[in-house]
C-alpha cells in the first residue's frame, strides 16, 4: 500500500498517522478485509515510534475503519472505504465551521435542521 503523509500537517503525530491511513483506505489503497502491514513495519516506514502507530490504529478502530482480530491481525473493516471518506468530509466541515465561528453544537443543530 502507498501512504502519503502530509508534511505540512501540524497535528499530533498519531493523528497524522491515522490521517495517512484513513486517506489510504478512502483512496482504495487497502480494500475492506485486507490486512494492514504490521505496526512495526508502518512505524519504520513513517519514521515514528511503534506506540504512535498503535495509538493511531486504535483511533481508527474506534472510528470503525479498522478491525482488530486475534490471529488475523488488523484488517480494514467492511464499508470502511466509504465511511473513511465521509469521516474526512465531516472533519473538513467541522474545521470550516470553526473558521466561520460556529461551534460543533451549532453545526449539529444546523445538520438536524436540514430537510
Amino acid at each position: 500500500m502507498l501512504l502519503k503523509p502530509d508534511a505540512a500537517d501540524s497535528r499530533p503525530l498519531h493523528e497524522q498517522v491515522a490521517g495517512a491511513i484513513r486517506r489510504a483506505v478512502a483512496e482504495g489503497e487497502c480494500t475492506p478485509g485486507e490486512r494492514l502491514p504490521p505496526a512495526r513495519e508502518l512505524a519504520r516506514a513513517l519514521e515514528v515510534n511503534a506506540n504512535t502507530v498503535l495509538r493511531a490504529l486504535r483511533v481508527l478502530r474506534d472510528e470503525g475503519v479498522l478491525e482488530f482480530r486475534r490471529g488475523r491481525g488488523i484488517t480494514v473493516a467492511r464499508g470502511a472505504d466509504r465511511r473513511s471518506e465521509l469521516l474526512d468530509s465531516a472533519r473538513r466541515l467541522v474545521a470550516d465551521a470553526a473558521n466561520a465561528g460556529y461551534s460543533r453544537e451549532e453545526l449539529v443543530e444546523m445538520i438536524r435542521g436540514l430537510k
Binding site: 500500500m1 502530509d6 483512496e27 513495519e41
Partner: protein, 344 residues
C-alpha cells in the same frame, strides 16, 4: 489502483524501445533457425554415419567397451536408432524447458543441446570407426583417446552454445531511473510504499523442521548421542532458512528500499536512492530462478515466495535484485521517483 503511475517512456526511450523490440524479434528467429539447423544436422549425422559405412561394418556391431575389450553389441539398425532417439528426447526436454522457463532458460538449453549433440555424434563416429572393416563385434578396435577427445569437444560445444545465445538475445531494459515507471508526486509530497508476501508452505516447512530439530536435540541430550546430533544439524539449518524465506517485507521510503526477511524482520537488505540505477516490475516464476526462497541465477538474486509480480532493482554496482511482492509496479515507480529526486 494504478493511477499516478507514469508507465510511458520518454520520447528517446520509446524510440530505442521500438528498435530494441525489432532486433529482439530478428534475434529470436535467428536463434530458432540456428537451433533447428543444429537439431537436424545432429539427427542426420547420427543416422547417416552407420548407414554410410554399413557395407564395411559387422552386424551386430560393438557399442560398449569394458576397458580395452568390447563387451556389448547392438544391431546396425538399433545402433543408428538408439542415439537418434536419445537426441529426440533431449530436443523434447529442451522445448519443454524453453516453454516453461522462457527466455532465461536459453543459456541452459543452448549448453545442453551443444554438449549433447557433440557427445552423441562423437560417440557415433567413434563406434563406427572402431567397428570399421572388422569381421565381428568382439574384434572391434579398443577405444582410448577418442573418448577423451569427444568429451573435450562436447564440453567446448556446451560452453559455445550459451555464448552464442547470449550474444544474440539481449532484450531492452530501462537504463536509468528516468526510463522506468514513475509516480506523479507533487514536489514536497512524502510517500511511502509497503508490501509483504507470505508463503505458508515455507512457514510450515520451517515449523516441521524446527520440531524435528528440537526433537533430535532432546533425544541427543537424553543419551542417544551421535545419530541424533547428525539429524539435529540439517533440521536446524532447514528450519532457519525456511523461516527466513517464509515471509518478506518490502518498504520504499525517502531513504530507499528496505527488504526484510522472516517473521522477525531480520536479516535485512538496504539500498539507498543513490545506489539504485533503475527499478521495474517483472513477472517471474520459480522455474526461471531455480525454485523458491533466496535464489542466485543468471537473472541475479531473486527472493521468490510465489510466482508472478516481482520488484526488480538494478543497482549501479553488482547484480540485479528481485523480490516477489504484490503491487510491485508502484513500488518500482516510487523508488525511481525517489532516486530521480535525489539525482536531480
Amino acid at each position: 489502483m494504478n493511477d499516478g503511475v507514469n508507465g510511458d517512456r520518454q520520447g528517446a526511450g520509446a524510440g530505442a524501445g521500438a528498435d530494441g523490440t525489432g532486433s529482439t524479434d530478428t534475434a529470436k528467429w535467428a536463434s530458432r533457425a540456428a537451433t533447428a539447423l543444429w537439431a537436424a544436422t545432429v539427427a542426420v549425422l547420427l543416422l547417416a554415419l552407420p548407414w554410410a559405412a554399413h557395407g564395411r561394418l559387422p552386424d551386430p556391431l560393438a557399442t560398449h567397451w569394458d576397458g580395452r575389450t568390447a563387451d556389448g553389441s547392438m544391431s546396425l539398425t538399433a545402433s543408428a536408432a538408439f542415439p537418434a532417439a536419445c537426441w529426440a528426447v533431449a530436443l523434447a526436454a529442451a522445448a519443454v524447458a524453453r516453454r516453461w522457463a522462457g527466455a532465461p532458460a536459453r543459456t541452459w538449453v543452448g549448453a545442453g543441446l551443444g554438449f549433447g549433440g557433440v557427445l552423441l555424434v562423437g560417440a557415433q563416429a567413434a563406434i563406427v570407426h572402431a567397428n570399421l572393416d572388422r569381421p565381428d563385434w568382439q574384434h572391434a578396435r579398443p577405444l582410448g583417446p577418442e573418448v577423451a577427445a569427444v568429451l573435450v569437444a562436447a564440453v567446448a560445444a556446451g560452453l559455445l552454445g550459451p555464448w552464442l545465445a547470449h550474444r544474440r538475445g539481449r532484450g531492452p531494459r530501462p537504463a536509468t531511473a528516468a526510463d522506468g515507471p514513475r509516480l506523479d508526486l507533487p514536489e514536497g509530497q512524502r510517500a511511502v510504499w509497503l508490501s509483504r508476501t507470505v508463503n505458508p508452505w515455507l512457514g510450515l516447512l520451517a515449523a516441521a523442521s524446527g520440531l524435528g530439530a528440537a526433537g533430535s536435540a532432546l533425544a541427543a541430550l537424553g543419551g542417544l548421542g551421535g545419530p541424533a546430533w547428525a539429524l539435529f544439524a540439517p533440521c536446524a539449518v532447514v528450519a532457519v532458512a525456511a523461516a527466513g524465506c517464509s515471509s518478506v517485507q518490502a518498504r520504499v521510503t525517502e531513504r530507499g528500499l528496505d527488504v526484510t526477511f522472516g517473521p522477525f524482520g531480520w536479516p535485512a537488505r538496504h539500498w539507498s536512492p543513490a545506489d539504485v540505477a533503475a527499478a521495474r516490475m517483472e513477472r517471474r516464476t520459480p522455474a526461471q530462478v531455480g525454485g523458491w526462497g533466496y535464489r542466485l541465477s543468471g537473472l541475479g538474486t531473486t527472493v521468490m515466495l510465489r510466482r508472478g509480480e516481482c520488484l526488480v532493482v538494478r543497482p549501479h554496482r553488482g547484480v540485479e535484485f528481485a523480490v516477489s511482492v504484490d503491487d510491485a509496479e508502484r513500488g518500482a515507480a516510487l523508488l525511481n521517483t525517489v532516486a530521480a529526486r535525489r539525482a536531480g
